[in-house]
Symmetry: C2
């Protein structure tokens, strides 16, 4: 790790980027806010840079294109590493319950709910955002979880579990259909856990 990192063509050097402490975090926070409040279409790298108080070139340096900024904003919201660890860690016979509880806890928290809503809304109305979410969901979540499952068609089963969680989020938090919208989270966990358990372990 002591070798100098190669300079990337057309981007500022590491030295100039590292000279702005906290810039990366400020850019991500600004991206989350802008995608959530303005939607995918109306959000621009320039607008994100302005809100973060940095030059647009620095946004490109850290994240690349608008799509890549969006992907990074999704990643911060979903925290796939945490999700995978929470779901796959612990006894296998309670994997359905852990998935349901982790997913609901992320959506019940207003701080994480807002960016997730933005991601879902953007992906449902803009193909570019859908493509980012597609690649992200597939590569970062489903493949990792499926690789750890001992069932036939593990990726399809992991995705069916994910589809149930996404549908619950949409009816409960977006459309807000009763009685699901007001149901106690633990009641939802109790109902849904056996379904997820069957998909993920086949029992």
């Amino acid at each position: 790790m002591t070798e100098p990192s190669p300079r990337r063509r057309g981007r500022p050097s590491r030295t100039s980027a590292d000279a702005l402490p906290g810039a990366r975090e400020r850019i991500l926070a600004a991206a989350r806010t802008q995608f959530a409040e303005r939607g995918y279409d109306k959000t621009s790298v320039r607008g994100i840079a302005k809100e973060a108080g940095v030059d647009p070139a620095l946004v490109h340096h850290y994240f690349g294109t608008k799509d890549e900024v969006f992907a990074s904003a999704i990643e911060v919201s979903f925290e796939p590493a945490t999700a995978v660890r929470e779901v796959l860690g612990g006894p296998r016979e309670a994997i359905g319950e852990r998935l349901a509880r982790f997913f609901l806890s992320v959506w019940e928290n207003p701080a994480t709910r807002a960016p997730l809503l933005a991601v879902v809304r953007s992906a449902l109305t803009h193909e570019a955002a859908a493509k980012v979410l597609r690649g992200f969901v597939l590569r970062r979540l489903l493949e990792r979880i499926a690789a750890d499952l001992d069932v036939p068609d593990p990726e399809l089963r992991a995705e069916l579990a994910a589809s149930h969680m996404i549908g619950i989020a949409i009816l409960r938090y977006v459309i807000r259909v009763e009685p699901l919208a007001s149901a106690d989270p633990e009641e939802i966990v109790a109902q849904v856990a056996p379904t997820l358990q069957r998909y993920l372990t086949g029992t």
Copy 2:
């Protein structure tokens, strides 16, 4: 049924409306097209009337406000009466399989998929459309199906079944995440039917 129907204040008389054969169907077709192509926000009663070749007053006469036109367009797309009959009819031990197969058949058909996509997208991005879908889903589908179920919390269980179907539609037809996007419909039915069966009959 031989009594004259009461005249509604501020609306054309039945006689003038009935003078346009097929107008109601043309308005509904125009509404489906406009909501699907232009989205909820940009669709207007005036635009629907223009495409249907009728006076905007006739749209109001048949359907009322834009929200009510939207609700009628949803109803035509979802065909709740057909859905309820398909799901509740037949042996109770195969209700999960019937629900999964009916739902997928509606989405697999491009003619019904387009307006459904428009409804889902509109409801996820516009509160007015969400409110219409909320009332519609709750009153026309969940309450009817729940009333026929012999389980505790029948409405919550019917809604959890619906949430799974909606999540599958979003991942398969909107975001198009593999392997679900290309999976054989019958494989999805086989995987999902036991889940729906458990929600709807508790076994």
